[in-house]
Symmetry: C3
Subunit: 363 residues, 3 copies
């Protein structure tokens, strides 16, 4: 299915020039583009690529001369990365889930399926589930008893929604995502060594019997509108109250959200980040890949972490953090520069000690 340059420009709220009724069937990097592609050349460094490739139309950087570049048509977008959102949405062929309910799906008779829902092969929908209008459920998805999912959901293959999960509209879950598994919460009959070590900052180390008893998860999960969860990520159910993910929040692959965690709105959580139990994350915060956040902490709104940051204490609103343990980013960058200067510093101190007779050195 093709799109005219004019229609694409309209979708991107951008300006089009030249043969705007030219039709393209896909997008490509400039050097790899064929005549059927819209070349994506949103930076002057792609000028050479355009010459190598065969595109007749391109999305161009501000200030480019489309005619001098040998193009027949061009689109100029004010914010290139934003244009990518509009363009890729337009050209996405979708997940290929056939309309209607596949005969191999196992749907409990008490489930309520919204109008226009497409349910793929071998999906399992439990008792009392409510699924909103126009949901697209891929193969091998399971939805646990009593869970409620809003309109326009897209659940990719093998997504697991547990029981007692409430999700808003336009939810997207990538393959293998698990929502509503049991929290990791255990207790020993007597005070455990972990409790002692926390109280004493690590000094205690008495060996004790510790047969772990399970605290069950009764609180389920609540997820707002416009949330996306990545491949093989896991969001655990809360103990008494629900684990919550706020509206507009996006979660990448292999992320762990512990029980009782409260994530705010429009938060971005990158791959392999882990948030331990009962921690709160404020609105618009961005956690880079492999960030860790300890349990029972408060991370403010508008916080940003660098990759691999390990948060072990409260973080106020607006902080930019990096490191293990987390410090303010500029402070950490300074500290890691200082590590490299340590050998020289040690030499200096050794030389000073030779030059200066220290009182008490020979005590």
């Amino acid at each position: 299915m093709g799109h005219t340059v004019k229609d694409i420009a309209a979708a991107l709220k951008a300006e089009a020039f030249g043969a705007v009724s030219l039709e393209v069937t896909g997008a490509a990097e400039p050097a790899a583009a064929g005549p059927e592609h819209l070349a994506l050349a949103m930076d002057a460094k792609y000028a050479g690529g355009l010459a190598q490739g065969q595109a007749r139309a391109a999305l161009l950087w501000d200030g480019a001369d489309w005619q001098a570049l040998g193009l027949e048509a061009a689109i100029y977008a004010p914010r290139p990365r934003l244009a990518m959102a509009g363009l890729t949405a337009l050209m996405d062929a979708g997940p290929g889930i056939s309309p209607g309910v596949h005969p191999s799906a196992v749907i409990d008779e008490s489930a309520v399926i919204g109008a226009g829902a497409a349910i793929g092969p071998l999906a399992v929908i439990g008792a009392g589930v409510t699924l909103g209008a126009n949901a697209r459920i891929a193969s091998h998805v399971s939805i646990g008893a009593g869970s409620v999912i809003g309109a326009d959901a897209l659940l990719h293959a093998g997504v697991r929604i547990g029981a007692n999960v409430r999700i808003g509209d336009r939810f997207i879950a990538q393959p293998g995502a698990v929502i509503g598994g049991d929290g990791f919460s255990f207790v020993t009959p007597e005070t455990s060594r972990v409790e002692e070590a926390r109280a004493s900052l690590g000094a205690e180390a008495s060996a004790k019997n510790s047969a772990w008893q399970r605290i069950h998860s009764l609180g389920g999960v609540e997820i707002g509108d416009d949330v996306e969860i990545g491949s093989n990520s896991a969001v655990d159910a809360g103990t008494i109250r629900a684990t919550r993910i706020g509206r507009g929040t996006k979660i990448d692959n292999l992320v762990q959200i512990g029980h009782n965690v409260q994530v705010g709105e429009d938060v971005l959580i990158c791959g392999q980040t882990g948030i331990a139990g009962s921690t709160t994350i404020g609105d618009r915060t961005v956690l880079a890949g492999q960030t860790g956040v300890g349990d029972n902490l408060s991370v403010g709104a508008d916080v940003i972490t660098g990759a691999g940051t390990m948060i072990l204490a409260r973080v106020p609103d607006g902080r930019v953090m990096l490191g293990y343990p987390a410090m303010k980013m500029d402070q950490y960058i300074g500290a890691s520069k200082n590590w490299r200067r340590l050998p020289r510093l040690m030499q200096d101190v050794a030389a000073l000690k030779k030059a200066v007779p220290l009182r008490g050195e020979d005590d």
Copy 2:
């Protein structure tokens, strides 16, 4: 289904006061509790919450005056977190797997299914599998050829048990957990650069051909009684001997247990921790979230790590460890404080160098 205050107290081995035949249908945080809930107010800070909510009965902190708090009935538990274990077990409605074998499940005729087992839709049970009594197998679970699982197992949706896996009684696996995948074990025909780098602590860097040949995993996995494995975690099969997880050990989400690893009893392994091949973990050890343990190491019994600790050398029994690379926790906390003091230290040394003429400085 409701429970009387009296029955709940009996289950928790706790004392009940007031209208102990009052019935509740669930538990709630004090401020959110309705009249049908048991409020969980195990700390004096919840007194205000009780006034806000509508609970008629509560689980109270030691020393609280239930009558002054306006309650009709109250339970006092000696160790609040332990009471949570008993209470949540009592109130857990369970995973909602219908009794019997769902007609869409694919069960090899040579499999032996214990009495009282419930097998959900689209589960696949391989040839020669033995499944204990009262097992609960959710939808989309697969169990590989010849594997043996004990009594009272609970396998949530999409759990993957490979071939040649032996598991004890009361096993719980959260959605997407994988037991018995192949180990990550490869070898090059000639000595590889990794072997050289290990031998030389990183000095060598000769480029070499390295077409990796696979070492297959023949040893399977052995898991003791009362083990739990979290969502999307992976336990690899051993090469010749089995990978082993000891009795009573609990493993959180997204954890990686490499081939040949031997985990002791009553161990707690938190989310996103990784244990590389052939490493041993002693009894009752607790590994916090995102801990890493290198391959072929020995971590003792009763060890505790802080979040994100990276263990790259042997750890004796009873140590409390933190950091990258792992140090004793108090030592690491000291070191990270010192990093913050480095800029001042460097200023001091610079000032000293100005004040003290160093011999050889101008050589």
Copy 3:
């Protein structure tokens, strides 16, 4: 099924001695070996184990005297770990997928299935899929519309192949691996705080509206011959061009490969490593467990990282790296030794300051 000592030696290109027509049915560690096993005693430290066990034949270390060890037959292999590859391949009973197509599998009529393919129960093969000869597809696998997989593929239970994925020959995927999920790529209408923080190294912290708009993934995934992907790992689709994994590369469990990433040939990526979007990894590079690599970076060929290394800047060819942030391994080991010396250094500087009157100290 048994193998004679002679046949095993021939498969390993090794020499056999004694009763070479003796047949064994499996391999075992020396102390645990029964008379039906080939004992694996490739180091002199196993001499005692051989005496404890009951093996009649063994794979021995160079220089061992098989007759003095009481064996009836022996094999000597020049490179023991390499011999393990050959031996375990020979003795692997395989994944137990029955020949032919299981009647419960759901295969689109437009899919092209190669000769000799075995497809297990409840697999789902989408429209336009091409599956090579002798593929072995376990239960619950799904393959998305239009994807192409080469000959001799082995997809374990619950593997998810998305749409628009092209994979070479001899591909192996462990349970729960996800290939071709959507990339984690979002943009705000205005410049976001993350972009500002990157530009200013963390100094900016203005609160802003950030409703994230999705950039869709149109580029799919391309994977070369002889690639293996571990349990519950995730490889995201590219945005415009494909995410690429080169020939011979092996990827462990719970690894995240972001969108647009280009991984070279014969690369080894260990468990829980994460590679962020648009980064390039050179040929033969080895990334140890829990390594992190930031986005839009270039990591050269023949690079080696230690466990938990966090790469936040370009790495040239051949470097051996360790640490957070990553440094050359010897430099990092030096730095971490220096941390332990800091308390002494601080004492020294304090003593020097007492001994030396510094100008300006009292300003």
